[in-house]
């Protein structure tokens, strides 16, 4: 088992209280940053660490921070994106509910680095119990002088607010999140201007994922170079992977980036193999929006190399034979999974969650869902399969925000790798619509 930077003390009883957290080395990074470092040094440290955004896009956090416009006399904001709602991803919820102070510590250090005096945690509306945990932890941090005016006598002030969302997936998109935070309808904004120039209340803003902000804590404690020693190549440090699906041991694992996918699925240290002794059929490696890959391609790249849990290795081969690390929502599907049904299920989600602002996504997500529904329920035609690819292509790249792509990619990838299953649904509607039916290369079996 590799080193754990974030979740080392997650199972310590009472770690969600200030005293216990402090006893286990908590808030060291705040002390170090505020007393011995300038804000620019903190940014430099994060740059050195090579930390990449953990929310899905994998954009280098240090670089994002350095893009922040710093006009004189204008407030800047740090917003933590805790609106985790991607199907298959549930790492931030765990991290926040068990280690609320880790996020708060990261928020203080990061806000200091960016020069923000007011910061927000925008949390998914459904996670109301986590909101309470965070609010309690924030109150403790205020009481102990880590938030408020003149933190630790350094002259730096910070107010931290938690704001619950209204339960929309789209509010996890950074500009929709800012709109929602401003009290408006959560429609993504057109970019440019980017949030780094005009974000919250038209002020320069950085929006970071919970895990990215939490990772700032070990980076400042041990130094960016130390952090960069973990991992492979440009994928440095550790990553929380929320593994679910047909695994023996689903759960949240903090892995050192670079673990082979095969080891992650089959070793007892991690997921412990596929349940009921079955065979693996497919994996969605980074939350429902990334392309699905069949067993052959997720374990080994098209070139025959072992696939590793890194940003680069998983995207090896582009979308033809690769996928993305995304937000780390690892969904494994055994041989009894119906890919058409699964794709329909994902599609239904995106149809429901499209904000309806731009036409390709508003109309396209519904269209995809309806065609998939038809295929799954035995009313499909052969030409529907090409229609899916064509509609997905019409959405992709033409929308305001990435939700269009998130809806199009899984459909396109499912047809790309599992076309035979779609065809089987068209040619054998009676068999395919039996409850629990799935396609198998050996024989189509009902369960």
């Amino acid at each position: 088992m590799g080193r754990k930077l974030l979740t080392e003390h997650i199972n310590v009883p009472g770690i969600d209280t200030f005293e216990v957290y402090r006893k286990h080395g908590g808030y060291r990074s705040v002390e170090k940053a505020l007393k011995t470092m300038t804000p620019d040094e903190v940014v430099e440290e994060v740059k050195k660490s090579g930390l990449r955004g953990r929310g899905g896009a994998g954009f280098p956090t240090g670089m994002k921070w350095s893009f922040l416009a710093k006009p004189v006399g204008v407030p800047r904001y740090l917003v933590c994106n805790a609106d985790e709602s991607e199907p298959g991803t549930f790492k931030d919820r765990h991290l926040m509910s068990r280690l609320p102070h880790l996020l708060i510590e990261g928020m203080i250090t990061s806000s200091y680095a960016l020069g923000a005096n007011t910061s927000y945690i925008y949390i998914r509306g459904e996670l109301l119990y986590v909101l309470r945990i965070l609010e309690k932890a924030i109150a403790e941090a205020y009481a102990n002088g880590f938030l408020g005016k003149n933190i630790l006598g350094s002259g730096y002030d910070l107010d931290l607010h938690v704001h619950p969302g209204g339960g929309a997936y789209i509010c996890g998109e950074e500009t929709a999140l800012l709109e929602s935070l401003e009290g408006k309808r959560g429609n993504p904004r057109n970019k440019p201007p980017f949030p780094a120039v005009q974000g919250l209340y038209a002020r320069p803003t950085v929006v970071n994922n919970v895990e990215s902000i939490s990772a700032v804590v070990p980076i400042i404690n041990d130094g960016g170079e130390e952090y960069a020693k973990l991992g492979v190549g440009k994928s440095t440090g550790t990553k929380l992977i929320s593994a679910c699906g047909h695994l023996n041991k689903p759960g949240i694992y903090e892995i050192e980036l670079g673990v082979p996918v095969e080891e992650f699925i089959y070793s007892d240290e991690y997921c412990g193999g596929i349940w009921k002794g079955r065979d693996l059929k497919a994996v969605v490696a980074g939350g429902s929006s990334v392309p699905i890959l069949p067993k052959e391609l997720i374990l080994k790249t098209a070139a025959g190399e072992n696939r590793l849990m890194t940003y680069e290795s998983l995207s090896d081969g582009g979308f033809v034979t690769g996928t993305m690390l995304g937000s780390g929502g690892f969904i494994a599907m055994d041989e009894t999974t119906c890919i058409v049904r699964n794709t329909w299920s994902f599609s239904r989600f995106y149809h429901h969650e499209s904000c309806g602002q731009c036409s390709p996504c508003r109309e396209g997500t519904g269209w995809l869902e309806k065609v998939l529904h038809r295929l799954e329920h035995g009313h499909g035609h052969m030409h529907d399969i090409d229609l899916l690819v064509s509609v997905a292509k019409q959405i992709e790249g033409n929308t305001i925000c990435p939700l269009g792509e998130a809806a199009a990619w899984p459909v396109a990838a499912a047809v790309r790798h599992f076309r035979h299953e779609f065809e089987w649904h068209v040619t054998n509607p009676a068999e395919a619509t039996r409850p629990g039916a799935y396609y198998s290369s050996k024989a189509a079996v009902g369960v």
């Binding site: 929309a168 789209i170 309808r185 057109n190 149809h351 429901h352 969650e353 499209s354 904000c355 309806g356 602002q357 731009c358 036409s359 390709p360 508003r362 109309e363 396209g364 997500t365 519904g366 269209w367 309806k370 065609v371 038809r374 229609l387 064509s390 019409q394 790249g397 033409n398 929308t399 305001i400």
Partner: protein
């Protein structure tokens, strides 16, 4: 000033101009269509994706192409920018896809729709779309909603361009309608049963690109191409209203009053509800003369102006037909 190349044509425009407005300065068939953007209303644009263009070179300083197609209505020009619209096949293909997307939930009820003949979506589909549909499922439908004494909302036809929301926000005292719901279940609504009757609210009818918001004093009175548009003005007591309008005549009756629009369907001077809904006698107005209707439009097919055949249509005609037309012109040739 910034110099840009649009479809091979160079033009110099002030900094901060959008690509679409730069193209409109050139004019003609290279202008990208716009379904949601409305120059006089702040905040509009970027939603319908009809005006997507390819930026082949970002600027003179940074000549890299932009990775994705960009909405020309909200992307501002940079000096040295090279933009491809009709010269880029991928742009035209995407536009075809946008027409298809906009039409899948739009009822094709043009024969009974009041907007037919002056409908942006109709023109857009006619110019850029295909004649068939691949959509087999049921379309979404809504009941017609009465939202006040003058305006009817038929949500089924709405393409969610948000124009009316921004217009009401910026022109009227208090906006009572907005977008409710999300995705393809999103709808324009007055929460819960509010009535839109503020002054200037009638302008939402003019900005609506489709027949979703219609004038109740005009509904079903006449097809628009059978009416005669006439420019007129009156001394309106309302300080914000210039009283310069278009009267739409059938015989000697004024069937409706609208604001004057330019060739891209944009109102330049807003009019108040009194001018629009309550002054329907010739005696209320000073007549200036026939209104000029630009572009290929069925409205102009009937009177005053001959429709202009665009260059593409002429290019597609056989040589002999072109000669016939030139010798005996029923239409003005646009070249």
């Amino acid at each position: 000033m910034a110099k840009i190349t649009f479809d091979g044509i160079e033009i110099e425009v002030p900094d901060g101009t959008t690509i679409l407005n730069a193209a409109r300065k050139i004019g003609g068939n290279i202008v990208p269509p716009a379904m949601c953007y409305y120059t006089p209303i702040k905040g509009t644009g970027g939603k319908c994706r009809a005006c997507l263009v390819k930026v082949a070179a970002g600027s003179a300083k940074d000549p890299r192409p932009m990775p994705k197609l960009v909405p020309s209505c909200i992307t501002t020009v940079q000096d040295g920018m090279v933009v491809e619209n009709t010269t880029n096949q991928s742009v035209l293909d995407v536009r075809k896809g946008i027409v298809e997307m906009l039409l899948i939930n739009h009822p094709l009820d043009c024969p009974v729709c009041d907007q037919a003949g002056e409908c942006d979506l109709q023109n857009f589909a006619f110019e850029h779309g295909v004649a068939t549909t691949r959509y087999e499922e049921e379309r979404r439908t809504f009941e017609k909603i009465d939202i006040g004494p003058y305006i009817q909302l038929h949500m089924t036809r709405c393409i969610l361009c948000y124009r009316c929301v921004y217009t009401a926000d910026q022109l009227t005292e208090k906006r009572v309608h907005g977008v409710l719901g999300r995705g393809d279940a999103a709808e324009i609504g007055t929460y819960i049963d509010n009535i839109i009757d503020q002054d200037f609210s009638g302008n939402v009818i003019d900005v609506c690109p489709v027949g979703a918001l219609t004038d109740k004093t005009w509904r079903f009175k006449q097809r628009v191409w059978f009416t005669k548009p006439v420019n007129a003005h009156r001394n309106c007591s309302h300080e914000k209203c210039g009283g310069r309008v278009v009267l739409w005549y059938k015989g000697k009756d004024v069937l409706r009053v609208t604001a004057r629009k330019d060739e891209y369907g944009e109102v330049k001077e807003w009019i108040c509800n009194e001018c629009r809904f309550e002054k329907k006698e010739t005696a209320d107005w000073t007549i200036e003369g026939p209104a000029h209707i630009d572009r290929t439009s069925v409205i102009s097919a009937n009177h005053y102006e001959l429709p202009v055949l665009n260059a593409q249509v002429i290019a597609d005609l056989p040589e002999s037909s072109v000669r016939d037309l030139e010798n005996n012109p029923p239409l003005k040739l646009g070249r």
